[in-house]
Amino acid sequence: MMLIFRRIVQVIFLAAFLALFIFTTLGPGFQVPENYFFYFSPLLSLSLLLSAHYTTTLWIIAPLSLLLLTLILGRFFCGWICPLGLCIDISDRIFRFTKRKKAGFPSQARFYVLGGLIAAGIIGVNLFYHFQPLVILYRTLAFVFFPLLQRFVPNIGDFPLHPESSVTYIGTWSFLVIFLVILFISFFGPRFWCRNLCPEGALLSLLSRFSPLRRFSKPGCSGCGDCRTTCPGGRNNSDCIRCMQCLAACKEKNAGFSFKISRRVADLDIGRRAMLLSGLAGAAIAVGFTLDPLKKKLYPRLIRPPAALPEEKFVNQCVRCGECMKVCPTGGLQPCFWESGIEGMWTPRLVPVLGECVESCTMCGNICPTGAIQKIKPEDKKYMPIGTASINKKACIAWAENKQCMVCQEFCPYLAIWAVPRGKINVPEVNIRNCVGCGICERNCPAVPDRAIKVYSPIGAGYRKRLRTGGN
């Protein structure tokens, strides 16, 4: 009974998460709903506080309310709400039919993961996004499942899933691999990820152990151990995810949950030495990341979204939820890999070949939950250059082949391309004062095989030299 009720609640929250995900796109009313799930994550709030020194009222109140509920109800978030939890539950169901290996993995590992992340965060390197369940799920949905879904269901009624007919994301496979690994480690035990690795769960565990909602067994218990074999969390009050599966598993009907305030607080059983080691490991990784040679010489075409924070701050304040890339109406915002160093992994960058930055669109800033991309007015965009176009005159149809083209001038909304008469035709020349780097020229340049006009980023390597020499 309780189990069915829990499934219903889980499905409702996953459906809400999916609905918010699907409607994070350019709708007919130009109103895009924010994904409020992220705000309730104490781990993301902590990551913003530690590595970006940033917080807002919403980022304090929402996680605190979840922590308060955790203090009363325990780790119910993991068992009842977490949408990734339901996905893992489903994979558990599949693996139940296979012969499971016994897991000899220490369930305290999640505290060590958390310790390492906090240590790295204090040094100023944001690594939380690698382990936060909500952003992992959102990224997987956005980069793996959405392009697939769009191929089969292009619109719901008259409402297109995405303005572009087929969006693709660079490096889709990597997100799929991470997601599948999280599901497949259930092979070693139910909810392996939640029990052993999830730092969000660890953070909630710290308060869950004070929760008065406790599991008990009635005096008639024969100690058969049925509850123990099905338990996905742990019998300890700090590990227990309040999934109530033991109620269904107990044939004797001797298991139960009750509110009972007790002085006995569950022991966390964290090894001091292991904790110290994990902290040091996190710090070492963080220091290593700051020494990353790629960061010194950023990719010349690393174009950040308009009104993104300065690079150093941006990579720390971005939680890599992928909402900006999901909402981008042209599909031009793509996840980075090495382009801004290891530290900037999965941050958004504009890839003009796949889609331009639309003149009157500020969706990415409006949707960004952390303010890493600022909210601006569309009319202010022309004062916030994100790059500068540069013409390769050897590849340009007009310059090299003497043909009428000027497509870049046609498309440019900022009058940043001059038409210079040369013989019978016009040739394009970039006016760098007007150019904001939206990339519409690059996307539509008809030159083959490579575009003759390309946008270069002001934070990328060799930018000044390129401007001086006109890009040739």
Binding site: P163, S165, P329, V358, S360, K403, E410, N426, N444
Partner: protein, 309 residues
């Protein structure tokens, strides 16, 4: 005047009747030639182009179509109409880069008034279509009149057609609805264009094809002319309500308010007349003579009759 009509009076009346019949029935020699299947470029005929200035948009549209036999000549009861305005850019109507929304409203209304079953607007926009449809105000105008906006950004919408007369362009992917519709009406706007020089009806065809870049890689003007030999709109209405005089085709640039509509059956003749609004000779706009060579229509102003209505 006596009750009896003498011979002279009779002849005068007869000739007046004949003249007025010729003027109002809209049956020009060119149209008669088309009726008998002699093709549009009937040698020795004069292309008729109608030009309406001033008044409200609804009135202007009615006037410019009246000598052609009003909209009901093209739109029969229950048929499917496809309109192709110029909504390439996400620009406001005042910036003159797109077809005027009031014209689209009046035209869709007129089509439904003539008994059209369905009126669709198709456009392969250059800017992101949602922004282009919204900013230009055409979505609001068309939908309030009962029409439907459609974007041509899906590649499944296109069908490959051969262009037998084409010199540079031998085949092209064209929007399927344009090929299948009962009545295709081209509603371009008049602008200057840095790549093509000017842009009217023939250039507006670039909004119903899939790969525009290819035309630029080949010879743009020849491709425009080649394509017009394969696709011929039933009617061309050039919107010269506002002219974009500089920084075309997207602007923002200098705008001149003209409150003019140009309509005709011959797409080349319509474009040639529109050239005169920019004080340009049609000979200087290369795709027109090249289209004329392919027999699409007439570009020489002395062979075109401009009828102010």
């Amino acid at each position: 005047m006596s009750d009896k009509i003498d011979r002279r009076e009779f002849i005068r009346m007869l000739s007046a009747l004949g003249l007025s019949a010729a003027a109002f029935s809209g049956l020009t020699i060119e149209e008669l030639a088309m009726f008998f299947g002699a093709g549009p470029a009937f040698a020795g005929t004069v292309s008729q182009v109608y030009m309406a200035k001033g008044g409200t948009m609804e009135d202007r549209l009615k006037r410019v179509l009246a000598p052609l036999g009003s909209i009901s000549r093209f739109v029969k009861k229950g048929i499917w109409v496809v309109l192709k305005p110029n909504i390439a850019w996400a620009r406001k109507p005042e910036q003159a880069a797109t077809t005027t929304p009031e014209l689209m409203y009046c035209l869709v209304k007129a089509c439904y008034g003539a008994g059209a079953g369905k009126v669709d607007i198709y456009e392969h926009t250059a800017d992101q279509y949602i922004f282009a449809f919204r900013e230009s105000g055409i979505q609001k105008a068309v939908e309030s009149a009962g029409g439907r906006m459609n974007s041509g950004h899906r590649s499944s919408l296109y069908k490959k057609i051969p262009i037998p007369k084409g010199k540079d362009l031998k085949e092209s992917h064209v929007l399927r609805p344009v090929l299948e519709t009962d009545c295709f009406i081209n509603v371009p706007t008049a602008k200057v264009h840095h790549a093509a020089g000017l842009t009217f009806g023939l250039k507006n065809h670039m909004g119903i094809i899939k790969d525009r870049g290819m035309w630029h890689r080949k010879d743009l003007q020849q491709c425009i002319a080649d394509f017009s030999s394969a696709i011929r709109p039933a009617l061309t209405i050039i919107d010269a309500t506002r002219l974009l005089l500089t920084n075309g085709p997207k602007g923002p640039g200098k705008v001149k308010i003209m409150n003019t509509l140009i309509a005709g059956l011959d797409p080349v003749a319509c474009d040639a007349v529109a050239c005169t609004l920019f004080n340009t000779a049609p000979e200087k706009y290369p795709c027109l003579p090249r289209a004329a060579v392919l027999g699409v229509g007439e570009y020489r102003l002395n062979k075109i009759r401009i009828n102010p209505v």
